[in-house]
């Protein structure tokens, strides 16, 4: 590319940032000068700017994020605490893997979001119901990535630790955990997306606060600018988490660059 004095990555960044800025400008321009603007069908970036100020100044946005974030943190933490040990044992003990793999695969493949209404009726619209839903959705990526990570452990390393008189504990903490780590970070990336689905489904169903509730409420009220801001906020949160974890993955395991996102 013909930009002198700029590294390729900064050219890429400029092109990307320019495309995003251009997208918003064209959007604003088209709706102001070219098409008839129907506020019940679409919104404009300038109106979204106002809505953003509105949501931030009134403190609504922070409150919604806090309300949605609490069950997310609980559910996600539970998924880590339960999912990783289960996956590690499955990867380490052949018979455990034989026993659990088909069952868990079937659960992973089924659209568990559909259980949301039942869970909410059983456990309430508050933190508890959403936490369980998020846990159910987020636990499987951890199990299967820990499983795959442990199976990818180099046998030579295990033999070395054994020959030098290492105990079962040393194997877990000195060999298995370090080589499984990149897989776990990759699993966390998938789990984040599924966890966000859990929050939103839970709040679409029955909630009086939270970012998912705000999204659908503004939609029902035809306050499209506010609704678009909620969508953008969720997109930004998702991008920050997934890209952050991607960077972490590359930092932990630079050799695993080639992988499907």
């Amino acid at each position: 590319m013909g930009f002198k004095g700029l590294s390729e990555s900064s050219v890429r960044f400029l092109l990307g940032a320019g495309a995003v800025a251009g997208f918003f400008l064209v959007w604003e321009f088209l709706l102001t000068y070219v098409f008839v603007f129907n506020p019940f069908f679409i919104t404009k970036p300038s109106l979204m700017w106002g809505a953003t100020g509105d949501l931030i100044l009134s403190g609504e946005l922070w409150k919604d994020i806090y309300v949605s974030g609490t069950p997310f943190v609980f559910g996600f933490a539970a998924a880590v605490v339960i999912g990783i040990p289960v996956g590690v044992v499955m990867g380490w003990r052949r018979r455990v893997a034989f026993t659990l793999d088909p069952f868990l695969t079937a659960l992973y493949a089924s659209p568990l979001v559909a259980l949301a209404p039942l869970l909410i009726v059983m456990f309430g619209v508050g933190v508890k119901g959403k936490t369980i839903l998020i846990f159910l959705l987020a636990v499987f990526p951890f199990i299967f990535n820990a499983f795959a990570g442990v199976r990818s452990v180099d046998n030579l390393l295990i033999n070395v630790v054994r020959s030098l008189g290492g105990k079962e504990r040393d194997l877990y903490f000195k060999v298995i955990l370090p080589s499984t780590l990149p897989y776990l970070v990759a699993g966390a990336r998938i789990a984040i997306g599924r966890g966000i689905v859990g929050i939103i489904v839970g709040e679409f169903y029955a909630a009086s606060e939270g970012i998912g509730h705000a999204l659908i409420w503004f939609g029902d009220m035809y306050q499209l600018a506010h609704m678009f801001v909620c969508i953008l906020v969720l997109m930004i949160i998702a991008v920050i988490f997934t890209q952050g974890l991607r960077k972490a993955e590359l930092a932990i395991a630079p050799w695993r660059t080639q992988e499907t996102r």
Binding site: M1, A19, F98, T99, P111, L118, V121, A148, G193, T260
Partner: protein
């Protein structure tokens, strides 16, 4: 005795796997016989026998067949559209660095965001009904396909490209001879991810944005606390998802024996 033992050894994997599933179902079936459930829970409790009976009943109902037909149509149209868009765009993005740099922020953002976030907007734009679900399926399936096509094109061996060029191939021939065959394993892997997402898209889209389809049946049943219909639907989607992803996985394994094993995703 020894013969049985060696038979068990040979088939340990399926025996243990199926054994656990059967055990789980048996325990589930017998819970209400052993403990008395609290009143609140008993209302939402069902057993595998009832779910199975419901599945059989549903499979003969013409109404369910209609809803199934709607869901299948949404799946096929949505996935078809996403393939039709993702392949050309992915190929072009892989070949031209500038375009790729410009599209990248959008692809990253839309891929990272669960498509459910767009559902209220999609319902507003496309109305309550099958087209909203089609769009959700499309958005969900598009990005894994697009990204994998693009990665496949980008990871092409430069030497092969240069050889074909030296022998005077034009861009079109280059595509046909080198680029497409080389990216095929990636595209198939993307297709596997896309199918999983498309099936989820059908469920989620119909759950909140439709009045037809199996997902709607489940949502309506859940609203009326008819628990066995919810579980029957869950099992149906699970079976479809497993069968389709495994079929594509077989194809993928054949096409790319040389690639390292990948982690399961749905």
């Amino acid at each position: 005795m020894n013969r049985y033992l060696s038979q068990y050894r040979e088939n340990e994997e399926p025996i243990l796997g199926w054994g656990f599933i059967v055990l789980f179902l048996l325990v589930w079936e017998f819970i209400p016989h052993v403990v008395t459930l609290p009143k609140g829970l008993a209302l939402f409790f069902t057993t595998p026998y009832h779910i199975g009976a419901k599945l059989v009943e549903m499979s003969t109902s013409s109404e369910v067949a209609f809803h199934f037909y709607v869901s299948a149509t949404e799946f096929v149209i949505g996935l078809g559209l996403s393939i039709a868009v993702a392949l050309p765009v992915g190929l072009v993005m892989g070949r031209f660095n500038t375009l790729n740099a410009m599209f990248d922020p959008f692809v990253t953002a839309f891929n990272a965001t669960p498509r459910l976030v767009f559902l209220p907007l999609v319902v507003l734009w496309f109305g309550f009904g099958i087209w909203s679900t089609v769009v959700i399926v499309f958005i969900g399936a598009l990005f894994p396909l697009l990204i994998n096509t693009y990665e496949g094109v980008k990871n092409i061996d430069r030497v092969l490209v240069n050889v074909v060029r030296s022998f005077g191939a034009n861009e079109w021939q280059l595509m046909k001879i080198v680029v497409l065959p080389n990216s095929l394993p990636y595209i198939i892997a993307g297709l596997r991810l896309a199918i999983g997402r498309a099936i989820l898209g059908v469920v989620v889209g119909e759950f909140f944005g439709s009045d037809q389809g199996i997902g709607y049946l489940m949502a309506a049943a859940a609203g009326n606390y008819i628990v066995d219909v919810v579980f029957a639907g869950l099992i149906l989607f699970m079976a479809i998802s497993l069968v389709m992803t495994m079929a594509v996985k077989k194809l993928e394994d054949r096409l790319s024996r040389w690639r390292p094993e990948q982690v399961k995703t749905f």
